[in-house]
């Protein structure tokens, strides 16, 4: 190392100081960026407050509560059959799936079980609502990245599924079809054939989306390696559903628990992805839609004959007790903890909805990413505001 003379040293220090001054002058102040509460990328009214340093997010926090409708309090003043009307609207894209865990919890308390025919039809409708839910997600994914075509495709093909749900239940959106002890009605004539055809169309839709979107170079470069959530983080934040499976954890409540439903009658598999990035989350959802189509197709052949309603009293009083039932809903694990005091209505209902936990990882996942990636990460996490705020 050469020794610097005093003069050289001084000039070196001066240049350092000049650089530092320059840095101080150039240092940009942090900026706070507000995304929402009304933003097309937030699927409703989520507000995300980001503190930026240049193009990078240094701190982000979701501000929920813009869609808080007070479900848990409202269920206390409704009777058991009335509650299903309300909880339909928690995850509004997959309405029927919301009713099922609650009804199962009530049935558990009453110690009754729906007849086999009702169980199979319930499972079919459950999966149809998953398809209706996730197909819109797949279409919407393109919009977040500036591609508008997929959303038209999604809306077109989703209508077929909604028609099916409407045909069976009478409600396009909020069926309110599940009853304690069975279902409201039997399937209409011709519904099964119609469903078969629609399932073929939906599988074609999945193929199209896979071609159009997942094979797209821009899509891949904006999704792959972005927003990686490792398995331990996913677990510790309580993620569920496709978000968890995309981090490589093989966990699906449809397969992993015993419920009086008909998933075990069909042959299907749980998809996982080792990467844990945005692409993996979307890809797992795409595969799940295909699996759902397969489940529906297989179950259509296995609907047993028989009644669709067990014997339940006209005025339903649920005996005292507590029950917890969770199912694998389109967005993830959704569960109800029902406390009954033997009245017409529940004493207390705790709702565990998937999106609330899925969104809680946002402050962690958004740290250090670039602003355009915020939108894709949020889109791939896939939440629904009613499901977050309840």
């Amino acid at each position: 190392m050469t020794m610097l003379s005093d003069r050289q040293q001084l000039s070196y220090i001066a240049s350092q100081a000049a650089d530092a001054r320059l840095n101080v002058e150039l240092e940009t102040e942090g900026m706070t960026l507000n995304i929402g509460p009304q933003h097309p990328a937030t699927h409703g009214t989520l507000r995300i407050i980001c503190r930026l340093d240049g193009e990078q997010v240094v701190w982000a926090e979701p501000s929920a509560g813009y869609m808080h409708r007070g479900y848990e309090k409202l269920t206390e003043v409704r009777t058991f059959p009335q509650v299903t009307t309300l909880i339909n609207r928690i995850d509004w894209l997959g309405s029927f799936a919301n009713e099922v865990p609650f009804i199962l919890a009530a049935e558990k308390l009453m110690e009754i079980e729906a007849p086999p025919r009702a169980q199979v039809i319930r499972t079919i409708l459950f999966e149809l609502s998953r398809i209706a839910n996730v197909s819109l997600f797949l279409g919407d994914l393109g919009v977040q990245m500036g591609a508008i075509t997929p959303v038209f495709l999604a809306f077109r093909d989703r209508e077929y599924v909604l028609n099916l749900i409407e045909g069976a239940t009478g409600g396009r959106f909020h069926p309110n079809f599940d009853r304690i002890g069975g279902l409201k009605d039997d399937l209409p004539k011709g519904w099964i054939d119609e469903t078969r055809q629609v399932m073929i169309k939906l599988q074609q839709f999945c193929d199209t989306i896979e071609d159009l979107l997942f094979g797209n170079e821009i899509f891949q470069s904006r999704m792959r390696g972005i927003g990686i959530i490792p398995a331990d983080i996913a677990k510790s934040y309580g993620l569920s559903g496709a978000n968890l499976r995309a981090s490589g954890i093989d966990y699906d409540l449809r397969r992993d628990q015993e419920l009086p439903m008909a998933w075990d009658k069909a042959d299907w598999r749980v998809w996982t992805h080792p990467d844990g990035d945005s692409f993996a989350r979307c890809w797992v959802r795409l595969q799940e839609t295909r699996e759902s189509c397969k489940i529906v197709e297989q179950l259509l052949d296995q609907i047993p004959a028989g009644p669709i309603m067990t014997k339940v009293p006209r005025i339903i009083k649920v005996p005292e007790g507590e029950a917890w039932v969770a199912t694998e809903n389109p967005l993830g694990e959704m569960g109800y903890y029902v406390v009954s005091k033997g009245d017409l209505g529940p004493f207390r209902v705790k709702i565990r909805s998937a999106s609330f936990n899925n969104i809680s990882v946002v402050p962690w996942a958004l740290k250090g990413v670039y602003v355009p990636d915020v939108i894709t990460i949020l889109a791939s996490l896939y939440f629904i505001l009613g499901d977050i705020d309840r």
């Binding site: 869609m67 808080h68 309090k73 409202l74 009307t85």
Partner: protein, 205 residues
């Protein structure tokens, strides 16, 4: 628009203007809850296709919009944002309230956090009842709104007669600054109050 603000619009010209206004409506989609998806189906899907009615569904900001479609549950936390949005929109502006929640609270009529009716915050022209209303119902609401626009007297609207007559309760005296109402003239008594339009007739629910 010298003719309009002097209040002397020849009838044929009014008709022409109203026709053009009603067939180039830019709608700002203020989607809040479940109804937002049905609104998306009505405005953004190939099956319902609102553009054939002359409605353009995707303005970049409320400042470019002619009418706003409020669809879904309005919560007390959201209400100030809706008010601000409405005030950002330029006159003449219209509004559609879609779904029971926005009309009157809907299934959450006894909830502690839901605003029972968006008409407490902003004036509403057309109510679309239903939970959620079918996309067809929303399209009918749009058609009814277009009919209202076609029958409007532009000069009266410019003077704000009609506006003040019907929307008095929304006028806020903000330290000498009147939020609504253009001129200070007395309101002529021959202007009938505007009835709210409800799709399918019947009560607002």
């Amino acid at each position: 628009m010298g003719l309009v603000d002097r209040g002397r619009m020849p009838a044929p010209l009014t008709k022409l203007f109203n026709m053009s206004r009603s067939y180039s409506l830019w709608v700002y989609q203020w989607g809040l809850a479940c109804c937002a998806i049905e609104m998306g189906a009505a405005f953004g899907s190939p099956r319902y296709d609102v553009m054939r009615l002359g409605v353009i569904p995707l303005p970049a900001s409320p400042r470019q919009a002619d009418f706003v479609c409020i669809s879904g549950t309005v919560t007390d936390k959201m209400a100030p944002a809706i008010k601000r949005l409405w005030e950002q929109m330029p006159e003449p502006k219209y509004s559609i309230s879609m779904g029971s929640c926005a009309n009157c609270g809907g299934p959450y009529w006894d909830s502690y956090s839901v605003t029972k009716g968006v008409d407490q915050i902003i004036p509403i022209d057309v109510y679309v009842p239903g939970c959620p209303p079918r996309p067809e119902a929303l399209l009918e609401g749009v058609v009814l709104l277009q009919q209202r626009i076609k029958n409007e007297d532009m000069a009266a609207k410019w003077r704000g007669d009609e506006y003040r007559n019907n929307r008095r309760e929304y006028e806020v005296d903000d330290g000498g600054y009147r939020t609504h109402g253009v001129s200070g003239d007395p309101i002529p008594s021959n202007v009938p109050p505007r009835e709210p339009i409800v799709v399918g007739g019947g009560p607002i629910e």
